[in-house]
C-alpha cells in the first residue's frame, strides 16, 4: 500500500528527456521505499526539434510521502498522469512547460529552465503568425496554478560553472531532488548518475550545485 507520486518531463527533441526519464524510473526501481514504477514517452513524429514528453510514476511507501491514497502495487499500471496530478514537473524548455499545463495544479512543484528554443514558425517571415509567449506570461500562469515554481536559466548557469550547457539538466535534477528530499535519496541519486554517465565529476558537481541552489 502506498501513494502515487508523479513526475513529468517536458522539452524539445534532443534535450535529453528520454535519458532523464530513464534515470528517474531507474531511481524508482532501486529505491527500497518505492514499491512500483511505471512511465512512458511520447515521441511520435517528433524526431527533430519536436515536443517531447516523458513520465515517471512511483508507488511510494506512505511512511515517507503520504497523500492518503492507499494504492496497491497492482493499481499503478497506467503510464499516463491524470489531469492536475503531477507532483514534480521538470520543464527543460518554457514553451513546452506551458504546453503541459493540463498536469499542473496546486500540488505541483515546477522547475523550469528558462532558456528558450524558438520553433521555426516564430522566426520565419513566411510563417510568422505565431509568437513565442513572453517568459513573464509563462511564469505568471505557472505561479497561478502550481504550488511552487522555480525558474532559472540553467543553460547559463551550466555554462558559467562547467563551460558547457549540457550539464543544465543535471543541475535541474538536483533542484528537483532537494524539493522532494523525502522521495529522492541524495546518495542513491549520485550513484545513479555515475552508473549512467560514468565517472564524470562534472555531473556530480552539477547535481550538488542544483541541490544546494535553493535554500
Amino acid at each position: 500500500m502506498g501513494d502515487i507520486y508523479n513526475i513529468l518531463l517536458t522539452g524539445v527533441g534532443g534535450q535529453g528527456i528520454v535519458l532523464l526519464g530513464n534515470i528517474l524510473r531507474e531511481y524508482g526501481m532501486r529505491f527500497p521505499l518505492i514499491q512500483n514504477v511505471v512511465g512512458t514517452e511520447t515521441r511520435g513524429v517528433s524526431q527533430r526539434e519536436g515536443s517531447v514528453l516523458a513520465t515517471a510514476r512511483y508507488l511510494i511507501d506512505s511512511k515517507i510521502y503520504s497523500l492518503d491514497q492507499n494504492f496497491e502495487v497492482e493499481d499503478l499500471i497506467s503510464p499516463l498522469i491524470p489531469i492536475n496530478d503531477a507532483h514534480l514537473v521538470m520543464g527543460l524548455e518554457p514553451l513546452e512547460t506551458i504546453r503541459n499545463l493540463r498536469y499542473i495544479s496546486e500540488r505541483t512543484v515546477v522547475i523550469m529552465n528558462t532558456h528558450r528554443n524558438y520553433p521555426r514558425n516564430v522566426i520565419l517571415k513566411a510563417g510568422k503568425t505565431m509568437k513565442y509567449p513572453s517568459l513573464g506570461y509563462i511564469i505568471d500562469i505557472l505561479d497561478q496554478l502550481a504550488r511552487r515554481t522555480i525558474s532559472l536559466d540553467f543553460n547559463e548557469l551550466a555554462k558559467a560553472k562547467f563551460d558547457n550547457a549540457i550539464y543544465s539538466n543535471v543541475i535541474l535534477l538536483g533542484v528537483g531532488a532537494k524539493e522532494f528530499q523525502e522521495v529522492f535519496n541524495k546518495k542513491l541519486m549520485l550513484t545513479l548518475l555515475i552508473d549512467f554517465f560514468g565517472e564524470d565529476s562534472h555531473n556530480l558537481d552539477a547535481f550538488n550545485l542544483g541541490y544546494n541552489l535553493i535554500t
Binding site: G44, S78, P82, L101, Y118, V122, A126, K131, G136
Partner: protein
C-alpha cells in the same frame, strides 16, 4: 536497456523495461526460431533488439523483410516446417500482408506462430488509425492483447502455446502507448530451440484450391469455435478484477466494466480516483469470445449496466451487445454503454475514462468536475495560441539540399514556362517536405502510393501540370517497384526522384535489400560504399528506363542538382533521378563511433559560425531551413518578446552540438550570399586554430 542485459540468463530477476523490450524478451524466452519484420512505429524497436540478438545466436534467425507480406509469408514457412515464428509490423502493414492472412489460417500452423501488430490510435506516426481487431471478422484469427509491460512478455509465451494447442496463428494486438511504456518485469527461463525443422508434405492441407480450400475452411472455423468454448483459455488470458472483498455493503453497485489492453490501466486509475469499485472484466483474449463466460460475468455480479472502455471501434461493445441480446436470457435487457460516450478517434486517456464514469455513475463529485472543467477552460484559452513545433529534416540531412535546389528550379520553370508542378509523396523522411520552408507535397496515402496515384493522374492532367514523385529506397523495394514498372511500361509523363539513403531511416536506420554490405558490419572502418545485395541502378536499367532518362547524382552539390532539375523536369516521358547519398544521421553516428575507436582518424575539427555582421537576409533559415541554425535573443531584450520577434532583438547562431560539419559541406555557407558564415578548421593534433574562412 542494452541487448546483453535484455537477453541475460537470469530467471526470476526483476528488470525495468519498455513494452517493446518485453516483447523481444518474450520472443527470446519462448524459444522462437525465426522472426521477421518490416520496420514501423510503434513496434520497430522489437525488430531492432531481435536483429542484435540474431547476430551472435546460431539458433535464432531474424530478417528485415522487404515488406510485411514477405515477412508474414516467411514466418508461415518456418511454422509449417515445425518451428516457432513471430512476425511484427505496424497496423498498416497488415493491409500489405492481408492477402496471405485471409488464406493460410485454413491450413493452420505447426510451430507456434504470432503476428505482433502495433496500432497507433493517436496517429502519432502513421497515416491512419485503423482498428486491426476488425480483421478478426474476416479472417477469424484469434486475438490476444496485453495490458501491462509484464503481460507483453508473458502473452508472447502463452500466445505461442495457444497457437500450438489449436494449430492456428494468433494475432497479438497492442497500441503505441503500451509499446512505449515502461514497467517492472520478472524474467523467465529460455526454452530450448530446435535448429532444424522438417516440412511434411500434405497437399490436402497446404494446397488451398477449390474443394480442398472449402474443406480446410470449415475445419478452421470449427477449431476457432472450439477455442471460443474453452473455459480454461478464457481465464488464462482474461481476468476479473473483484475488489468487493474489502467493500462494505452500501458500496456495491450494479455497474460492471469490460475493457482490454492499456485501457484497463486507465480504468483502474479512474476508479481509484473516483473511489468506485465496479467488477472489471479485463479481456486478454478478445476473439473468439466465450459467450457463456461473458454472460456469467454479468450474472455473477448481477449487473444492470455494462460499460465498455476501448479505443477506436466498438469491437468489444458490438460483441457484448450481440452476446447479451442473443444468448443470455437473464440479461437480455442489460444496458450497455461505450462508444455513445467515448470518442471513436484518438488515444484514450485516464481523463476521458474519468469523465465517462462520472457521467455513467451519476456520482456527485462537483469538486472534481469543477476542477476538470476549470482546467479545460484554461487550456482552451492558452493552448491554441502556443506555436507548435513542426518536425523537419535533421541537421546536415541530405534531403535538404535536394528540396532547396528543387524549389529553386521549379520556381524558375514555373515562371518561364507556366508549368505547375505536382508533388506525389510517399512514406519516409522525405514526407517532411510538406513543412516549412519547402512545402512541396500534394498527397500522402500509403507505401508506394506516390508513384501509384501519379500513374493515373499523369494520363489525364493538362500538359502544363507536371508530376514529380518522391520515393525512398526502402519504400521502393517495399511496394514502389510495381507502380514504377507500370509507369515505365506506359512511358507515363512524370519525374521520379529516388532518395537512395541506404537505410530505412525514419524508423531508426534499419538495413534493407539495398543497404551496402560493408555498412552493416559491426566494426565498419571504411566510409566508402561497396557492394550492395541488390544493385538499384542495374535494377532500374533492367526494368527499362532509358539511359538518357536515368540520372544519378549525389546530394550536396546544389548548383549541379539545380542544373539536373532544370534539364530533366521539362522532358517528356518517365524520368528517374537517383540521389545517392547516405542518411546523414546514420553516417554521423558511425563517424562518431569510428572516432572513438580510432583517435588518429580525426585530425581536424571544422566549425561554422555566423558573423555578428550578418544582415539577416534569412536565406539560411527561411529557405534552407537547417535546424542547427536558431536565434538567440540579445540580452536586455529577453523579457519583452511578447510581441512578434523583431530582427534587431535577436541574432542567428549555429548550434555546435547539433551541426554535423564532417557530413554536411556547409550548405548554409553556400547559400549565404553575403559571406557571413565562416568556416574554421582546428588542427586537433597541434591544437592550432587555422581560420580558413577567407579562402574556404
Amino acid at each position: 536497456m542494452n541487448t546483453t542485459d535484455l537477453f541475460q540468463d537470469s530467471p526470476g530477476k526483476k528488470v525495468l523495461i519498455s513494452g517493446n523490450e518485453a516483447f523481444a524478451r518474450g520472443i527470446f524466452e519462448a524459444g522462437v526460431r525465426f522472426a521477421a519484420n518490416y520496420p514501423g512505429t510503434p513496434v520497430s524497436e522489437v525488430g531492432d533488439y531481435l536483429h542484435l540478438l540474431s547476430k551472435n545466436n546460431d539458433n535464432f534467425t531474424f530478417d528485415y523483410a522487404v515488406n510485411e507480406k514477405v515477412a508474414l509469408e516467411s514466418c508461415i514457412g518456418v511454422s509449417w516446417a515445425g518451428l516457432r515464428s513471430v512476425v511484427m509490423f505496424k497496423h498498416l502493414g497488415l493491409n500489405v500482408a492481408a492477402d496471405p492472412l485471409h488464406t493460410f489460417p485454413y491450413s493452420g500452423i505447426n510451430g507456434g506462430m504470432l503476428i505482433l501488430c502495433g496500432g497507433d490510435p493517436g496517429i502519432l506516426s502513421s497515416t491512419n488509425a485503423q482498428d486491426n481487431r476488425l480483421y478478426a471478422l474476416h479472417t477469424k484469427i484469434p486475438i490476444i492483447e496485453p495490458s501491462t509491460v509484464q503481460e507483453c512478455k508473458d502473452f508472447i509465451k502463452e500466445g505461442l502455446r495457444l497457437s500450438e494447442l489449436y494449430k492456428v496463428p494468433i494475432y497479438v494486438h497492442v497500441t503505441s502507448r503500451l509499446c512505449h511504456s515502461h514497467g517492472i518485469v520478472t524474467l523467465g527461463k529460455r526454452s530450448k530451440i530446435e535448429k532444424t525443422g522438417i516440412f511434411q508434405k500434405n497437399p490436402d492441407r497446404y494446397v488451398n484450391t477449390l474443394t480442398r480450400a472449402l474443406s480446410n475452411q470449415s475445419k478452421y472455423f470449427q477449431i476457432v469455435g472450439e477455442l471460443a468454448k474453452n473455459k480454461k483459455m478464457f481465464y488464462l488470458f482474461n481476468k476479473v478484477k473483484d475488489w468487493t472483498k474489502n467493500l462494505e455493503e452500501n458500496e456495491f453497485s450494479d455497474i460492471g466494466i469490460i475493457t482490454s489492453g492499456i485501457c484497463y490501466s486507465y480504468v483502474i486509475q479512474a476508479c481509484r480516483r473516483l473511489n468506485i469499485h465496479p467488477p472489471i472484466l479485463k479481456l486478454g483474449l478478445l476473439f473468439p469470445i466465450n459467450r457463456n463466460e461473458i454472460c456469467a460475468f454479468a450474472n455473477t455480479y448481477n449487473l444492470k449496466k455494462l460499460l465498455v472502455v476501448e479505443e477506436l471501434e466498438p469491437f468489444i461493445e458490438t460483441v457484448s451487445k450481440r452476446t447479451f441480446c442473443n444468448y443470455c436470457d437473464a440479461k437480455r435487457d442489460l444496458e450497455i454503454h461505450g462508444k455513445d460516450f467515448i470518442p471513436k478517434t484518438g488515444e484514450l486517456t485516464t481523463d476521458l475514462v474519468i469523465r465517462f464514469l462520472l457521467n455513467q455513475y451519476e456520482i456527485k463529485r462537483e469538486d472534481l468536475i469543477e476542477d476538470i472543467e476549470q482546467k479545460e477552460q484554461i487550456l482552451k484559452e492558452i493552448l491554441p495560441n502556443l506555436p507548435i513545433r513542426e518536425p523537419t529534416f535533421c541537421p546536415g540531412c541530405q534531403y535538404r539540399p535536394v528540396f532547396y535546389s528543387l524549389k529553386k528550379a521549379v520556381e524558375k520553370l514555373s515562371k518561364e514556362n507556366g508549368f505547375e508542378f505536382i508533388y506525389a509523396g510517399d512514406i519516409g523522411c522525405y514526407t517532411l517536405s510538406e513543412s516549412y520552408p519547402y512545402q512541396m507535397l500534394d498527397w500522402v496515402v500509403c507505401m508506394g502510393a506516390g508513384i501509384g496515384i501519379a500513374n493515373g493522374m499523369a494520363q489525364v492532367v493538362a500538359t502544363s501540370q507536371k508530376l514529380i514523385a518522391f520515393i525512398g529506397d526502402s519504400t521502393l523495394f517495399h511496394t514502389g517497384l510495381q507502380p514504377l514498372i507500370n509507369a515505365i511500361k506506359n512511358n507515363t509523363e512524370m519525374t521520379i526522384i529516388i532518395f537512395n539513403n541506404y537505410w530505412t531511416s525514419m524508423t531508426g536506420q534499419q538495413e534493407h535489400a539495398g543497404t551496402p554490405l560493408n555498412l552493416t558490419q559491426d566494426q565498419v572502418t571504411e566510409t566508402e560504399i561497396k557492394k550492395t545485395q541488390i544493385d538499384m541502378i542495374k535494377l532500374l536499367e533492367n526494368i527499362g528506363i532509358k539511359e538518357k532518362n536515368l540520372i544519378i547524382t549525389g546530394a550536396y552539390n546544389m548548383e549541379h542538382l539545380q542544373k539536373i532539375f532544370l534539364k530533366t523536369l521539362p522532358k517528356s516521358g518517365t524520368k528517374v533521378i537517383v540521389i545517392n547519398e547516405e542518411c546523414a544521421l546514420e553516417k554521423s553516428r558511425r563517424f562518431k563511433l569510428l572516432e572513438k575507436s580510432n583517435k588518429e582518424s580525426s585530425k581536424e575539427q571544422i566549425y561554422y559560425k555566423i558573423l555578428d555582421s550578418c544582415v539577416k537576409c534569412n536565406e539560411c533559415i527561411e529557405y534552407l531551413g537547417c535546424p542547427a541554425i536558431n536565434i538567440e535573443v540579445l540580452k536586455g531584450e529577453i523579457n519583452q518578446s511578447d510581441d512578434i520577434l523583431k530582427p534587431e532583438s535577436y541574432k542567428y547562431f549555429i548550434n555546435q552540438s547539433t551541426c554535423v560539419p564532417n557530413i554536411c559541406p556547409g550548405l548554409c555557407k553556400v547559400v549565404c550570399k553575403d559571406g557571413m558564415i565562416k568556416k574554421t578548421i582546428i588542427d586537433v593534433k597541434n591544437q592550432k586554430s587555422s581560420s580558413k574562412s577567407g579562402e574556404e
